[in-house]
């Protein structure tokens, strides 16, 4: 039996997860240490770290991170709030569904990045434009989930509440919204991912600061180590925010059988 235990532990989530990350990392170190490696294409880890230190000391990383986080958070908050509001209405009230659903279905397949040119033409390349693009992206992915959540509220809960005397509005507030919470939270998480994706794209095209700008600067001056460093930073930020979200999700969903 101890052998079985050992096997279980070795095959555990932490061990296997660490192993796969470590393998990629070690392979990278190995390749970059080969004699004929070109550091301008594959910079060694010490150079990436050096770029990190340099950008921290000059303060440019903090500035860029601050600017980017501000955009992500603003776009995310505005986009998801609008999505929850409109998604609830569409999912719950037939009139709202008939009114807005065709519109959303028509617009939904368009990638948010396709709006960048028209937004620049209309609003210029300022802060507003970038936040607007992120807002659109967050709204689109989130609203679909909110609508699905509302439409999947089990009828028996609605009937139970109605037979206990709940008004239509009370059913909405005390039954539909909580029953749809799992879908809504999933919508939030997907929106967060969409926010980061569109952020970088919007900053690559038009920005004087932000993480995307540092990426662009790195490309222009062939600072591959800086490019690599920013990629890692973006990955880490998105990962940490998603983790924070999972904690909130677990808190909100203590009642659910299908907790993550």
């Amino acid at each position: 039996m101890p052998l079985q235990k050992l096997k279980e532990r070795l095959m555990g989530r932490m061990v296997l997860g660490t192993a796969s990350v470590a393998t990629v990392l070690l392979a990278y170190i190995w390749v970059t240490n080969l004699p004929d490696n070109n550091p301008a294409l594959l910079p060694p880890i010490r150079d990436i770290f050096g770029a990190f230190i340099a950008n921290v000391e000059s303060g440019s990383l903090a500035t860029a991170l601050g600017a980017s986080l501000f955009r992500v958070i603003m776009g995310f908050l505005i986009g998801t709030s609008a999505a929850v509001l409109i998604g609830c209405l569409i999912g719950w009230y037939k009139v709202a569904e008939y009114l807005f659903d065709p519109l959303i279905e028509a617009v939904r397949p368009i990638p948010p990045l396709a709006y960048i040119p028209i937004i620049i033409i209309w609003f210029g390349i300022g802060e507003f434009s970038r936040i607007l693009i992120i807002t659109i992206a967050c709204f689109m992915v989130c609203v679909v989930n909110v609508i699905a959540g509302m439409k999947n509220v089990p009828q028996v809960y609605v009937d139970a509440a109605s037979t206990m005397g709940a008004t239509r509005l009370q059913v909405f507030r005390t039954v539909a919204v909580p029953a749809a919470t799992p879908f809504i939270i999933t919508g939030y998480r997907i929106a967060l991912g969409a926010a980061w994706t569109t952020l970088v794209a919007s900053e690559l095209i038009a920005a004087q600061n932000g993480l995307g700008f540092l990426l662009q600067e790195g490309r222009r001056y062939f600072l591959t180590d800086q490019v690599m460093m920013i990629i890692v930073i973006i990955g880490a930020c998105a990962f940490l925010m998603d983790r924070a979200f999972r904690v909130i999700q677990a808190r909100l969903m203590v009642w659910s059988e299908a907790r993550e």
Binding site: A160, S162, T163, G165, T174, T181, W255, S256, E257
Partner: protein
Amino acid sequence: MSEIVVDNLTHTFGKGSDSALTVLDNINLRLESGSFNAIVGTSGCGKSTLLKMMAGLFDPSDGQMTLDGDIIKGTNRRRGMVFQQDAVFPWMTVARNVSYGPRLRGASKEEQAEIEKKWVQMVGLSGFEDRWPRELSGGMRKRVDIGRVYANDPDVLLMDEPFGALDAQTKERMQSDLLDTWSATRKTVVFVTHDLEEAIFLADKIIVMSARPGRVHHIEKVSLPRPRTNDMRLTDEFLTIKRRLWAMLEH
């Protein structure tokens, strides 16, 4: 007083179209105040449809039902319902589920606590107040359901095969406990089931329905004494009724 009268009720799904299907045909019933009524019949006899109409979840195409003379239209807290499926709200604890109805009408924290205490105990769930429904067994969740409807203090209790999904032992206990609760409050109960033994054990009056279209085939008065005990299930009187009803459902 809470007497239900069903008056010339007919219900046709898709009325007027080619595929119109009459599920209930000219039903006339009088369910006395404070009585325990069971509706039995094979599947497709429209017994659940009839019950849902009593709850006001949808309207009959012809005829009407009244509760104490008032025409039943739309849902109302006077007519509480326990469903076949699990209707306990999974996002509320046991206690919060039980006080849901009073909370809708703005009951104070103290009133809610009092109601929770009383009804959690009445349905035998003391100690489980703060548990989530997912932590309970199917039988316990049904108890929450029943407690929640009782705590809402309706005049009529409509039950749609509430114990259908439970195992035999749990079912018998739930039936006895339901009778205890019912005797303590004497609300009019309409209990739909396809289980003859369950109907005989619980009810004063059994409405036997025939299928396609659903009609009232027979009304059986059960005069077994109350309180009913489990050993009555094997008495001659009980078995005679069971044999008679069983023969009817065979046809």
